[in-house]
């Protein structure tokens, strides 16, 4: 629930056994309203994610966010939810002891749940890119896009995000919106994100593309964006939701309006209900997520050579001649296998990065439509 409680949540997760994960973060203590609502939405969405069987909320007890309210909103799914507050439990040691007991009993309470077969149409798959280079837009992203097209064809939901990385390619996405309302909303979100950088006196070119992107051959945000959007495939853009907002099942391709930080962006989509994440990287990113398996894909043959132990799918074969359709089919099968329980390289290595996006003061001003 807060930075104070996060350290104990980590300890409890370690003590309570192999099935327990913590989602430590820096938010929640005292944030302006819009920022607090976003933190709440992410905490609730993370708890409600279908990958989660039961939830223990760990609080200090003085947070602006009410643990009982979060618990109620998660319990609406029917899964068991408990809370513990450090101040009520009697301090650090007592909280770890008591929290560990509660977490173990929650694990026991869901142990008899049996795996059921589900159709691909019930899948919500988040796609992400991080550490992009020129191969991302040539190989890995279009291959993942092909897998997204297959998922949408099968009736599922694919989602990608990072609105700053639509800049320069938004006209292509806008053309794929089925109606004016979605198109207008999408273009407004891109304008807002482009304006935020300017509002903070930051020239977007300082941050985008990143120095690593530039080393990898990407010169401008337009070039990066044109490569980035190909990871969503070619189907109509059905909608755009807020950071961490619930994603519709059976929704086709839906965008999420998030900042361009990959860990926060993945967390937003998992809070939105994504059960599996497909993450492309040219330069070599190893990040995972505590709640959803992250399938790592690279289109860079050198990165595959160096980091294959951290990467699940080699899409650099696209450059040497394998068709995008074949790699897309392989990836779609990987998604189904991972949804069925196959562990990813990030899971094997317990790479479980978690961070909630904090709405910055200048962004709050922009959200309220005021001038600074």
């Amino acid at each position: 629930m807060s930075v104070t409680a996060s350290a104990l949540a980590d300890r409890i997760a370690v003590e309570a056994g192999a099935l327990v994960r913590s989602t430590p973060h820096q938010m929640g203590s005292s944030q302006p309203e819009a920022a607090r609502a976003q933190t709440e939405r992410v905490l609730v969405g993370t708890g409600r994610n279908p990958n989660v069987g039961a939830v223990l909320l760990v609080a200090l007890g003085t947070e602006a966010i009410d643990a009982d309210d979060i618990a109620d909103r998660i319990a609406g799914t029917g899964k068991p939810v408990e809370t513990i507050a450090i101040r009520d439990a009697g301090g650090t040691e007592a909280t770890i002891d008591e929290g560990t007991k509660i977490a173990r009993s929650l694990v026991d309470s869901i142990e008899e749940l049996e795996r059921e077969t589900a159709d691909a149409s019930e899948l919500i798959v988040g796609v992400e890119c991080g550490g992009s280079d020129a191969t991302s837009g040539i190989a890995a992203n279009p291959a993942v896009g092909n897998a997204c097209d297959r998922l949408v064809e099968a009736g599922g939901t694919a989602t990608f995000s990072e609105t700053p990385e639509f800049i320069g390619a938004e006209h292509i996405l806008a053309d794929r919106c089925p109606d004016d309302e979605t198109r207008k909303r999408l273009l407004e979100r891109v304008d807002t994100r482009e304006g935020m950088a300017q509002l903070m006196g930051v020239d977007l070119r300082l941050a985008q593309p990143s120095p690593g992107n530039k080393d990898g051959g990407l010169t401008t945000i337009e070039e990066k964006s044109l490569g980035a959007i190909s990871k969503g495939g070619t189907t109509p853009v059905r909608g755009i939701v807020d950071y961490g907002e619930p994603l519709p099942a059976g929704g086709g391709l839906v965008l999420m309006d998030t900042p361009g930080y990959d860990v926060e962006s993945v967390v937003g989509k998992v809070a939105g209900g994504a059960q599996v994440v497909v993450f492309t990287t040219g330069r070599g990113s190893t990040t995972g997520n505590p709640i959803a398996p992250v399938i790592k894909v690279t289109g860079n043959p050198k990165t595959w050579g160096r980091l294959s132990s951290n990467i699940d799918c080699n899409a650099s074969t696209v450059i040497s001649g394998e068709s995008l359709e074949d790699v897309g089919q392989r990836l779609f099968e990987d998604v189904l296998d991972v949804a069925s329980g196959r562990r990813t390289e990030a899971e094997r290595r317990r790479l479980e990065e978690f961070a909630i996006n904090e709405i910055q003061p200048a962004e709050l001003v922009e959200l309220r439509g005021e001038s600074p």
């Binding site: 300017q198 006196g201 020239d203 070119r205 051959g217 401008t220 945000i221 337009e222 044109l226």
Partner: protein, 128 residues
């Protein structure tokens, strides 16, 4: 892979692109045979008779993933990849030159808000 591979060395993503992407670490002097038909579609000369092709010679070494100018690009001209605008030239770029932050700049998200005046960045390109 989308696009056309030029001699196993570079990738042209779309017909009207003015840059190609190096598919290997290419040395200065590397020759890329470029089919110019695509760019002369609207030519009124009505020349027929198939591929008119020319050779672009690399002015400098260009790393894997980086971009090569396929034609002379004047300062201020738009630069195309994926069939879309990726920025404008901030200096004259001869065919065969490396295209990157030193001679190509974004037109978006700029504090100066002057999308058409990329030269505001100066010849350095990268504002760091």
């Amino acid at each position: 892979m989308k696009g056309v591979v030029i001699d196993d060395k570079a990738l042209l993503m779309a017909e009207n692109d003015t840059v190609a992407t190096a598919l290997d670490d290419l040395e200065a002097g590397t020759e890329l045979p470029v089919d110019t038909d695509a760019r002369s579609d609207d030519s009124a000369t009505g020349e027929t008779g198939g591929a008119s092709s020319r050779v672009v010679v690399l002015e400098e070494a260009i790393e894997f993933g980086h971009k090569i100018a396929l034609a002379d690009i004047e300062a201020g001209e738009k630069i195309y990849k994926y069939g879309e605008v990726i920025g404008v030239a901030t200096a004259d770029v001869p065919a065969g030159a490396w295209v990157h932050t030193h001679n190509c700049a974004s037109t978006r998200g700029r504090v100066d808000r002057e999308a058409d005046d990329a030269t505001a960045l100066g010849a350095g390109g990268d504002p760091r």
